[in-house]
């Protein structure tokens, strides 16, 4: 069945997100990371996606941010040194700038991924299949992605279960606390394994892959706007990469 084309198509979003995230990883130039962020935020706003969701996601990953910033700051000891410990540079201007770039990079990536929230799970599987990705593979990848929030939820629940046994996690020294966190990976992974086994059985029971071809509920085609955005993204990506290789952009 052929669906009514609906701008933007999943393939357009995939292309744009892929190019934005690749550039965010490749580029080290602050100005260009900021431009990338501005473009992504503008796209989110035009698409009608609320930025509060992005903010919430950023807040959820704040520990990861801090860790990455810290790692950057310690590994990069260039520029003016602010803090030193037994010959190791802990904090320097170069380190701070590196940390800033890392934060900018992650923000761009999270914002770009937010664009995908325009589409539901089935649309994404279809989109991947239309791009030539084998259906089983697309299905598995998206199933995995969809379970990440569930796993995080489970992690939080286990954390609550531990605290409900009267253990004040904040009062435990960091070393021991890490051990407690490692405990939490246990139920989370066990839960994930049990669930995936159930899903596999349920899919077999419904004759998943029993026939070589499958029927698609929708098989949308690309609109002129889609082609325009895809071309624009590719052109922009190629242009920026060209300047990066020429050394104009860091």
């Amino acid at each position: 069945m052929k669906g009514r084309p609906e701008f933007p198509d999943v393939r357009t979003l995939f292309t744009a997100v892929l190019i934005i995230t690749s550039l965010a990883i490749a580029i080290n130039d602050y100005l260009w990371l900021l431009i990338l962020l501005a473009i992504t935020l503008a796209s989110l706003l035009i698409a009608g996606i609320h930025l509060t969701r992005l903010l919430r996601r950023l807040r959820r990953y704040r520990w990861l941010f801090l860790l990455i910033a810290l790692a950057q700051s310690i590994s990069n000891g260039s520029g003016t040194v602010f803090l030193e410990f037994q010959g190791y540079v802990l904090l320097s201007s170069g380190g701070l700038l590196g940390a800033l770039a890392a934060l900018l990079r992650i923000t761009v990536i999270l914002a770009a991924v937010g664009l995908l929230s325009l589409k539901d799970y089935q649309q994404m599987v279809t989109g991947l299949a239309q791009m030539g990705v084998p259906y089983e593979f697309a299905f598995m990848v998206l199933l995995a992605v969809r379970f990440i929030p569930v796993l995080m939820e489970e992690f939080r629940n286990s954390l609550a279960a531990i605290e409900l046994r009267g253990i004040e996690l904040k009062a435990i020294p960091l070393g021991q606390r890490l051990k407690v966190y490692s405990y939490l990976l246990m139920p989370t992974t066990a839960g994930a394994l049990i669930r995936s086994r159930r899903i596999a059985i349920a899919m077999e029971a419904r004759a998943f892959r029993a026939y070589p071809r499958r029927t698609w509920l929708q098989w949308p085609s690309l609109t002129g706007w889609d082609w325009f955005i895809i071309a624009l993204s590719l052109g922009f990506g190629a242009g920026v990469l060209y300047f990066k290789i020429r050394g104009v952009i860091a």
Binding site: N157, S158, A160, I162, E163, Y183, A190
Partner: protein, 217 residues
């Protein structure tokens, strides 16, 4: 005697809409044994989670031991009230049963000898000795239920909330659990027993509450 747990005009709705509890007023004394009954989906688990702090009331207030429960951390609430989840799997985190029972005792500062002693006591009481080194997730439903209870009772809480603890137990195990709860009761520890079993409720509890249409009858 002042109430150990007190709910004042507590209402709860899910963010997606759907009001579960409406203006609940409830006062529970420390050594009282109360049964909470009601049809599936009537909000029994929700009420338990509001008391223990896993959910926050949409309006109204919860007091524990005379203090607004908002002022307690989750851990502090857990020390005042033991909570046995309806789905026991949800509360396991250790890699063996021994560790599951002893974990919190150890982190709450009990000496290793005493922890060992308490764990063995619980293993015997709940007939789990032969599974001492088993991975909790591999237990049968009834064994999980017993382990969940053992891990909480080991902490000797002043009050316990049990969410449908009889589910999945065979007749004999139900009798055993009944004996355990009677013993808990005799030690002066109260509990809120969420259950469908009217006989069990009237045998084990001095007061039976019925939750229906979001209100306590």
């Amino acid at each position: 005697m002042t109430a150990y747990i007190k709910l004042e005009q507590v209402s709860f709705s899910w963010p997606q809409g759907g009001q579960v509890l409406r203006d609940i007023n409830l006062s529970i004394e420390k050594n009282s044994t109360i049964a909470l009954m009601g049809p599936n989906g009537s909000g029994k688990t929700t009420l338990g989670k509001l008391i223990i702090g896993l959910l926050k009331p949409s309006s109204g207030r919860v007091f524990i031991s005379g203090t607004d429960a908002e002022e307690y951390s989750l851990a502090a609430r857990g020390r005042l009230i033991g909570y046995v989840f309806q789905n026991p799997e949800g509360q396991f985190f250790a890699s063996t049963i021994t560790e599951e029972i002893g974990f919190a005792l150890k982190y709450r500062g009990m000496s290793p000898d005493k922890v060992q002693q308490r764990v063995e006591e619980m293993l015997t009481l709940f007939e789990l000795e032969e599974y001492a080194d088993t991975f909790p997730f591999n237990l049968s439903q009834g064994e999980k239920q017993r382990l969940a209870l053992a891990a909480i009772i080991a902490l000797r809480p002043g009050f316990i909330i049990l969410d449908e603890p009889f589910t999945g137990l065979d007749w004999l195990r139900k009798q055993r659990l009944q004996e355990v709860l009677q013993r808990v009761r005799n030690e002066g520890v109260g509990y809120l027993l969420i259950s469908h079993d009217r006989d069990m409720a009237s045998r084990l509890c001095s007061r039976v509450l019925q939750l229906e249409g979001g209100e306590l009858q």
